[in-house]
């Protein structure tokens, strides 16, 4: 009996399993694309040797001077060596949303109303952050 009580809940195990697979997959993609990036096989949006000229600037100046994409604009440029890396980064950053979506049906089946609401709200918060709708005000 006691043995069952110390076991993680069904939703906790489901969350952990998705997290485990997604993390290693995202990390592998990031490592692979970074190797491609530094090898120079694909042309980069900002040539690697020029990058030190720009990485000391504030992000908004970097974007402005290079006319670099913001929000999901990078998705249209994944053929470029540097923006290719954003696939792995976005996978790692998006993994938590996926985990919540996986546990949501379990919480619904258990009729765990407070946590169903919390999970839905969390997905909404993370989706809002990921959407690119929220912008930094100028100064």
């Amino acid at each position: 009996m006691s043995n069952d009580k110390v076991k993680a809940s069904e939703e906790q195990i489901a969350y952990a399993n998705i997290l485990n697979i997604g993390m290693w997959f995202g990390l592998a993609v990031l490592t692979f694309t970074f190797i491609i990036y530094v090898s120079g096989i694909f042309q980069s949006f900002v040539p690697i040797e020029d990058l030190p000229k720009y990485w000391g600037m504030k992000a908004k100046d970097y974007i402005h001077i290079l006319n670099a994409p913001t929000g999901w604009g990078w998705a249209a440029m994944i053929g470029k060596g540097d923006y290719m890396n954003f696939v792995g980064i976005a996978m790692l950053a998006g993994l938590t949303i996926l985990c919540y979506l996986v546990i949501l049906p379990i919480l619904i089946r258990k009729k765990d109303t407070p946590y169903i609401i919390i999970a839905i709200l969390e997905v909404a918060v993370l989706a809002l952050a990921a959407s690119g709708i929220l912008k930094v005000g100028g100064h």
Partner: protein
């Protein structure tokens, strides 16, 4: 002093020296125009040096019981030529990757509690978005100064804060009862199952608003603040607090990381070697952990943060450029 401790001190000193070389090899200042920002150092030196430094940081972070982000941002921000926007973006992703890697094991062993983490994460992740938006809007010198002050505050917390293995929670509060925030885990050192419950949940949720804002603003991760609130305020056992805090970062940092990503404050050249370096370092750190004296490491981490925090503060105030 044990051999392992001496090796770690050597690694830490090496890391500072590499950083110092980096800062002198680059141009000074961070509000730079493109031409002035160029340095004579070949581009590949930077990712390679990041890989080495973050590898050492990964070891030190595990041994010191802190997240990678809290070491990464002040050290890389203070001693590398990258703008603090990109360093904070990378810092969040470094902390996120570490939390994602640790999460599955902690959840499966029931040390991290989903029931404890989910309500807290909702508050902290929403606040982290606000923090990220504020952090990216503030001028460079202001954010650098605030970062320095925050790091020095963290040093104070690390040096003075007490921890409680099994805090006494006489009665859970109404909110934690209605959310059924309770759990049980096996404490292997005692060979018995520990049941736990929490109290002061509303006060703790308020604290997580502040923690979330700071995590998003400075890209630090927030384990340094999560653990005292979960452990000392809410009364969760120390192991549950540490594990839940680590898992919590995977949610809090996700929301802030998206803001940095969408605002163009993420450079793969900084992010990828840092993530790989710190994760490899963490794996080595876990193996060294069994053979080290935690107290010596704790003071080494405090020393590192004191140095990096002072550097950030003085850099922000324009005293040490």
């Amino acid at each position: 002093m044990s051999k392992t401790t001496r090796v770690l001190i050597f690694l830490a000193v090496s890391m500072i020296l590499i950083g110092a070389v980096a800062v002198f090899a680059s141009t000074e200042g961070s509000e730079v125009i493109p031409a002035a920002a160029a340095s004579n150092v070949a581009w590949w030196v930077w990712p390679l040096s990041l890989l080495v430094v973050t590898f050492v940081l990964g070891i030190v972070a595990v041994l010191g019981g802190v997240g990678g982000g809290v070491l990464f941002v002040p050290i890389i921000g203070g001693f590398y030529p990258f703008n603090l926007d990109f360093v904070r973006g990378a810092g969040l992703l470094v902390a996120l990757a570490g939390a994602l890697a640790a999460g599955p094991g902690l959840l499966k062993r029931n040390l991290a509690s989903l029931r404890l983490a989910l309500p807290v994460a909702l508050i902290a992740s929403a606040a982290a978005i606000v923090g990220a938006l504020i952090g990216l809007a503030l001028p460079q010198n202001v954010i650098q100064t605030l970062l320095g002050a925050t790091i020095l505050f963290i040093v104070l917390i690390m040096a003075l804060a007490k921890k409680s293995d099994f805090p006494n929670v006489p009665k859970p509060d109404a909110l934690s009862q209605s959310l059924a925030i309770t759990g049980i885990y096996t404490e292997q050192s005692l060979g018995k199952d520990i049941e736990w419950q929490v109290h002061k949940t509303p006060q703790a949720l308020f604290m997580f608003i502040i923690i979330g804002v700071m995590a998003g603003m400075f890209g630090l991760g927030a384990g340094w603040a999560n653990v005292p609130v979960l452990n000392l305020m809410m009364g969760a056992p120390l192991k549950v607090s540490v594990a839940t805090s680590k898992f919590l970062l995977s949610i809090t940092d996700t929301s802030a990381a998206w803001i940095y990503l969408n605002e163009g404050a993420v450079l793969p050249m900084i992010v990828a070697p840092s993530i790989v370096g710190i994760m490899l370092g963490s794996m080595v750190g876990v193996k060294i952990l069994a053979r080290t004296k935690p107290k010596a490491i704790k003071w080494m981490v405090i020393g590192l943060l004191l140095f990096a925090g002072t550097r950030a503060l003085l850099k922000g105030l324009g005293i040490w450029k």
